[in-house]
């Protein structure tokens, strides 16, 4: 009779548990050292990569070949037809200005859009006086679009040497002009430094609206104040300060007394407390005669 488990046979050898060799043991301990692990996992790959790169790059020919390949690839990519610009389209400019701008852009088309320095082109275009603002963009289809905001001339400026220039409201030159009659609609200013005070000039012209048909122009005197010149060589000398207010007062006077229609040479408004009229010689004499003052009939 046997127990329930039945007979057992023991022939198996005990579990093998081989000892590590001395070197194996040391290597394992070394591998468990944190510093060594970091050096092995990070330091060694970094060193190998740096070494390989260094050895490769130490030769001049290889370096040149590498940069050559790179630039060639870059050029190939940049010169693909999708990136080529073949046309300059100028918008928002008059035809003559558009021609000038095209000449000014000065690109040898077709050209890759990577090679176009848009900032430089923009600066070049904006150097033109007639251009207030230029906006450049490369549109699809190889078009370099130049959006132009033109300067609008509001004044004519007669320079010392009888040249005529058109100015915009900020006093910037727009273009030259051959003859006054080309733009009879623009008011005229003259004198050195007139372009600096264009804003005031425009206000004065606005204030002189009632006598505008008689106005010949404004003269800047001493880069300080304005003279309003009417026909019959009448002059209105405006003060340096509050010129518009002074002119408005004169306009009111003119409306009431019809002052400027009389034979007056000049109206001096420079001192606001004491406006001065200068009569023409004939009128002066007649005035004196009427007062019963005997004169020698000189023109003074």
């Amino acid at each position: 009779m046997q127990s329930l488990g039945g007979p057992r046979v023991y022939t198996r050898q005990p579990r093998r548990d081989p000892a590590p060799s001395r070197w194996q043991y040391r290597m394992q301990r070394l591998w468990l050292t944190p510093l060594f692990r970091v050096l092995f996992r990070v330091g060694l790959p970094c060193f190998v990569i740096a070494m390989v790169v260094g050895i490769y790059a130490s030769d001049e020919g290889r370096r040149a070949a590498l940069t050559g390949t790179f630039t060639e690839l870059k050029e190939k990519f940049q010169n693909r037809p999708e990136f080529m610009v073949g046309l300059v389209s100028v918008e928002g400019a008059s035809p003559e200005l558009a021609e000038a701008i095209r000449a000014r852009v000065g690109l040898k088309l077709p050209l890759s859009s990577f090679d176009i320095d848009l900032d430089a082109v923009k600066a070049r275009v904006e150097e033109l006086d007639a251009v207030a603002n230029a906006e450049l963009r490369v549109r699809s289809g190889g078009v370099l679009q130049v959006l132009i905001t033109e300067r609008m001339p509001v004044l004519l400026w007669r320079l010392e040497d009888e040249r005529l220039e058109m100015l915009d409201e900020t006093g910037h030159r727009v273009a030259g002009l051959a003859a006054r009659t080309d733009r009879p609609d623009l008011p005229l200013v003259a004198g050195a430094g007139a372009d600096v005070a264009t804003g005031e000039a425009l206000e004065i012209f606005a204030a002189a609206q009632p006598i505008l048909p008689r106005v010949r122009g404004l003269v800047r005197v001493g880069e300080r104040r304005w003279d309003l010149v009417l026909d019959r060589n009448q002059k209105i000398l405006l003060p340096a300060e509050n010129a518009v207010a002074a002119l408005e007062r004169l306009m009111a006077l003119d409306k009431a007394e019809d002052l400027l229609a009389r034979d007056v040479l000049s109206v001096d408004l420079r001192n606001e407390k004491r406006p001065v009229l200068r009569l023409a010689p004939y009128a002066l004499n007649e005035h004196r005669k009427a007062q019963g003052i005997d004169t020698s009939g000189s023109e003074l």
């Binding site: 127990s3 057992r8 046979v9 022939t11 050898q13 000892a19 590590p20 001395r22 043991y25 468990l32």
Partner: protein, 444 residues
């Protein structure tokens, strides 16, 4: 004596360095297996020290992160017999434990069971200079103990102050700061064969490890197997290992006696092997599967196939009953226990107030051993398992790991030993520069 003092002090420093690093290995070099545990110390203990509840003897401060055991090679009676084999076995265990813990350990605390430990009780007295006991006075009274002649080639393994007495008051655990005139102390000194320690040192050095402490396995298995009140009231721990059986007696939480019987479970195995003419490995298997010390009528019918590869049918098909196996095992186990009994009697264990005996170690797992031991050693016998410590794998919680676990506790919280105190300046050789320096340090 000074050389030993220095080397033990160096080991203490090494232990402190290991604590700072946070990782230390404990190594139990036994006759049948070598166990290696790797401990990680996580800084200060997490449990607060409140009234009555101590820091749990330091065991809350560490965690076992690696454990490995390997079959021992080249160790006989708990002493290293073949250096290369033992070195390889230590390497195997340490490597496997390191692999599990995934850290490198440099410091190891080791214990061994053999080397014929001998206990001595020493007494010393010292007249206090200024009526308050200082650390200096403790050191002086410890060095005032007159050391007996240990015999040639023997070294001190443990030298623990067990009891202090101040004037007529005795039973002081820590006399520092107390007031009195005459300080006396009792010290327990354990000496072992120096060559065994040297061999172990050499093997550990060959494994690129630093020894941070060394302990007797009887002592450390007592630490782990005796519960706190047993240690306090007095108990004996019998650690039945493979090649030797360690005996330690504890009283008031101090070891007061240790000894070892040079017999263990391996002798039972070899008896089976010789009696039945079978290989040792098979004998070991049969012993662990079917072994016992009490035969019943059921055991007559339980037949055990012994197997064999001789090619002779008659020899390979032999069967024995379990009763026969028990008949072989029991005399040897009885012999071991009787030898232990005689050692305990020689130590005067029967005069102790508590007669508690705890059996632990791998060989204590023989079924029915507690009954047999009760007949030989007295009625208060229990089987002990080591304390549970954090992170210990289930496979390492058995009685066979009592000394490994005790070594963990020893590593975390060692008892004060003689060399934890500074040598008083009188003990330095005269005309030594160190002595002058020490005198200045003490007096200013």
């Amino acid at each position: 004596m000074t050389g030993l003092y220095q080397s033990q002090r160096a080991m203490r420093h090494m232990r402190r360095a290991a604590m700072q690093r946070g990782v230390v290995a404990v190594l139990d070099v036994g006759t049948s297996k070598i166990a290696c545990l790797i401990l990680r110390f996580d800084g200060p203990e997490r449990l607060r020290e409140v009234d009555g509840v101590g820091p749990m003897a330091g065991q809350s401060s560490f965690r076992v992160i690696g454990a490995a055991t390997t079959r021992s090679r080249g160790v006989k009676f708990g002493e290293i017999a073949v250096m290369n084999e033992t070195e390889r076995a230590i390497r195997t265990a340490v490597q496997a434990a390191q692999k599990m813990a995934n850290v490198r350990v440099d410091h190891v605390i080791a214990c061994f069971s053999g080397a014929e430990p001998r206990s001595y009780g020493l007494a010393g007295e010292w007249d206090l200079q200024d009526s308050v006991v200082t650390e200096q006075d403790v050191a002086r009274v410890l060095s005032a103990c007159d050391v007996p002649d240990l015999g040639p080639g023997r070294e001190v393994l443990h030298a623990q102050p067990v009891n202090f007495a101040l004037d007529h008051r005795t039973g002081l655990g820590d006399p520092r700061g107390q007031i009195g005139n005459r300080l006396a102390c009792d010290m327990h000194l354990l000496s072992v064969e120096g060559s065994v320690v040297q061999n172990l040192l050499y093997c550990i050095k060959r494994c690129d490890l630093e020894l941070a402490g060394i302990a007797s396995s009887a002592y450390v298995s007592g630490i782990s197997s005796l519960v706190e009140d047993e240690q306090e009231l007095g108990a004996a721990c019998i650690d039945m290992g493979g090649g030797s059986t360690g005996i330690s007696i504890f009283m008031k939480k101090h070891m007061i006696y240790a000894d070892s019987v040079r017999m263990g479970g391996d002798h039972v195995t070899s008896d089976i092997s010789k009696g039945l003419h079978i290989p040792t490995a098979v004998a070991e298997k049969i012993k662990t599967k079917h072994g016992g010390v009490y035969a019943t009528s059921m055991d007559d019918r339980e037949m055990i196939e012994m197997g064999g590869e001789s090619g002779d049918w008659e020899k390979d098909r032999r069967q024995i009953s379990r009763t026969e196996l028990i008949g072989i095992m029991r005399p040897r186990v009885e012999e071991i226990l009787e030898e232990a009994r005689s050692r305990l009697d020689a130590a005067g264990f029967d005069h102790l107030p508590s007669q508690q005996i705890v059996l632990t170690g791998g060989a204590s797992q023989i079924p029915g051993l507690d009954g047999l031991a009760a007949r030989i050693l007295g009625q208060q016998v229990r089987l002990g398992r080591p304390l549970r410590v954090q992170g210990l794998p289930q496979a390492a919680t058995g009685a066979a790991f009592a000394s490994a676990v005790g070594l963990c506790l020893f590593a975390a919280h060692p008892q004060d030993e003689w060399w934890d105190f500074e040598i008083p300046s009188e003990r330095y050789p005269a005309r030594s520069l160190k002595r002058a320096f020490k005198w200045f340090k003490d007096n200013w």
